[in-house]
């Protein structure tokens, strides 16, 4: 598989003004030269092959967007090398733009007041897509999703799901080599999420487009990515197959129960009863992280029910944050 993105030891530092408190502090800030250096990305190296779908994970503020902005050429790394399809992105931003497509979950690149098909036509001219390729792409879209009702609808009248779908189609329109998807399924319902995952999968398969997916939704990762990269506090924690990581989270479920008064105290008791699992509590819920290889969730629940008056329960997949926490605590092997 030829490499399409090649990153060697990149670091990105930002200069941030040290803000002071209060009115007096704010006035002082006007003249302040007191900067601190924040390292958003710290010595990250990775290479991504043509046609891969890579999940790029990490908690908020981990440095994901900064890395993506460097790959797209909006930011210049403080040090290190970066090559995207043979280009240095921040030097040839315009040229690089022709090779990439982007979707930011919370923003749209479409023309808000115009019907979708007009946005497509504008993009066709801006990216200088030949008629043949454009028509081919529209045909492909038609075979994948029901776009005809969308084409003549102004973007501002679309639901969030329709808009996200349209944005993804727009990002793939000029047949870029790489598409960056930043939280594409944020705020969507389950069926729309599934639709969007299927679409991304199909486009990747059909066009051999490299997809770099940032998300907090492990469902996205499960459905799409073979390989994941985890970053936290600017440092790379993990870069490997998803199968490998499954050991960390595949068998874990979070069982949440509500037992009425004083969850802290109750949690203390449960901790004594179930020493092999980690138990935590907030104002309402007690969470038990159950390793299904050791015990079935249903058995744990049964056991708890004997000693506690359970009013309500929830079962959750382990979240990205918890996966990262576990990797931190236990290391990667």
């Amino acid at each position: 598989m030829p490499e399409i993105i090649e990153i060697k030891n990149i670091t990105k530092e930002f200069k941030v003004l040290n803000r002071r408190e209060g009115l007096k502090g704010s006035l002082k800030d006007l003249f302040s030269r007191d900067y601190k250096i924040v390292r958003a990305v710290d010595n990250v190296s990775l290479s991504i092959g043509q046609g891969e779908i890579v999940g790029y994970l990490g908690p908020n503020g981990a440095g994901k967007s900064t890395t993506i902005k460097m790959m797209t050429g909006v930011l210049e790394p403080t040090s290190g090398e970066i090559l995207v399809d043979g280009n240095i992105p921040y030097r040839n931003r315009t040229k690089n733009a022709q090779n990439i497509g982007v979707v930011f979950g919370q923003r749209s690149q479409l023309w808000w007041a115009l019907p979708l098909v007009e946005s497509f036509k504008i993009l066709k001219d801006i990216y200088r897509i030949p008629d043949e390729n454009y028509n081919g792409m529209i045909e492909l879209y038609r075979s994948l999703v029901d776009i005809d009702p969308l084409l003549h609808k102004p973007v501002r009248q679309m639901s969030l799901g329709q808009r996200t779908l349209s944005d993804i189609l727009a990002a793939f329109l000029h047949d870029p080599k790489i598409v960056f998807l930043d939280e594409p399924t944020i705020g969507l319902d389950v069926s729309m999420k599934a639709k969007i995952r299927t679409l991304i999968h199909a486009l990747n398969k059909e066009k051999k487009t490299t997809v770099i997916l940032t998300t907090h939704d492990m469902g996205d990762v499960d459905a799409l990515c073979h390989r994941i990269i985890i970053i936290d506090k600017g440092k790379m924690l993990y870069d490997n197959d998803i199968e490998h990581l499954k050991g960390f989270f595949g068998s874990y479920r979070t069982l949440k129960i509500r037992v009425g008064e004083d969850p802290e105290k109750q949690a203390e008791k449960i901790r004594a009863e179930l020493p092999e699992f980690s138990v935590s509590a907030d104002d309402e819920w007690i969470s038990v992280l159950v390793d299904e290889e050791k015990a079935k969730v249903i058995d744990v629940l049964g056991q708890l029910q004997k000693t506690h008056n359970i009013r309500d329960m929830q079962l959750e997949e382990i979240s990205t944050e918890e996966v990262i926490k576990k990797i931190y605590e236990e290391g990667v092997q």
């Binding site: 909006v74 930011l75 022709q98 990439i100 930011f104 007041a113």
Partner: protein, 267 residues
């Protein structure tokens, strides 16, 4: 072929601006109200003056000038500063920067559509109405051609100034104050609100050396002069061309430097 990617943005802009009929209507009403105020203001000025001609202009001259200046303003003001400022604050600028096109050009062509539609929907009707109402006080001859050439350069100078001001938002992250300041400076020093003839002598000279008078005063004085001396036309258009180039270079360079700042230090 290369022009096509720009014209497609113009086209989109025209369609987009025609989508909002109501806002267009409100704008027309606003303009009419403004003109009524201006009418009475200048009437009072002329009534209190002892002569019919103040600073070499009759009441009709002044009124025609002011009305056309406001019509010119309504299509020249593209709110670029707001647009840049807002997209910086919301982060949308990242998406615009990732278009395979120079940002300065991208923004200009995105707005050119509004421009075209405003020209035909505001300036032309006002021009025709004034022309008829004043019974042919506006000369119709070569001056129209000079005016057309002059307006194209006005647009370019105005855009450069707007873009320059918008770029400042990259540093300040606030728009309001900067935009207001720019607007006051441009409207006053360009002769958009008060004809340049009314300014006191030393200030007038200074204003002729600034780029702003090239935006409103230059095209309007060419339009309203029935048989100008060729020398005057040449000087006016030459000055405009000079400012066109100077402002273009300044705004481009400032943007380049600022953008580098952003890509290095983050925004």
């Amino acid at each position: 072929m290369n022009l096509r990617k720009y014209l497609t943005l113009t086209r989109a802009g025209i369609i987009e601006s025609l989508q909002f009929r109501l806002s267009f209507l409100v704008m027309v009403i606003g303009n009419i109200l403004y003109l009524i105020v201006v009418y009475f203001l200048w009437k009072a000025i002329y009534d209190s003056a002892e002569t019919d001609i103040v600073n070499g202009m009759t009441f009709t001259d002044t009124l025609i000038y002011i009305v056309l200046a406001s019509a010119l303003f309504s299509f020249m003001e593209m709110y670029i500063v707001w647009e840049i400022g807002r997209s910086i604050q919301s982060g949308k600028i990242v998406l615009d920067l990732l278009k395979p096109m120079d940002y300065r050009r991208y923004l200009f062509w995105s707005y050119s559509g509004t421009f075209v539609s405003q020209f035909f929907l505001t300036f032309m009707p006002t021009f025709i109405a004034v022309s008829i109402a004043t019974g042919g006080a506006i000369p119709l001859g070569m001056n129209l051609l000079y005016f057309a050439v002059s307006v194209v350069m006005s647009v370019s100078i105005n855009y450069s100034i707007d873009f320059f001001t918008g770029t400042i938002c990259l540093y300040t992250e606030s728009i309001w104050g900067i935009n207001i300041m720019k607007q006051v400076i441009v409207l006053l020093l360009s002769g958009a609100t008060i004809p340049l003839a009314f300014f006191p002598e030393p200030l007038k000279t200074i204003m002729y050396y600034l780029p702003f008078q090239s935006i409103y005063n230059a095209p309007l004085s060419l339009l309203l002069d029935g048989n100008p001396e060729p020398q005057k036309v040449l000087i006016t258009l030459g000055t405009q061309l000079l400012w066109c180039i100077v402002m273009l270079v300044i705004s481009r360079v400032f943007w380049k430097i600022s953008l580098r700042q952003i890509t290095v230090n983050g925004g």
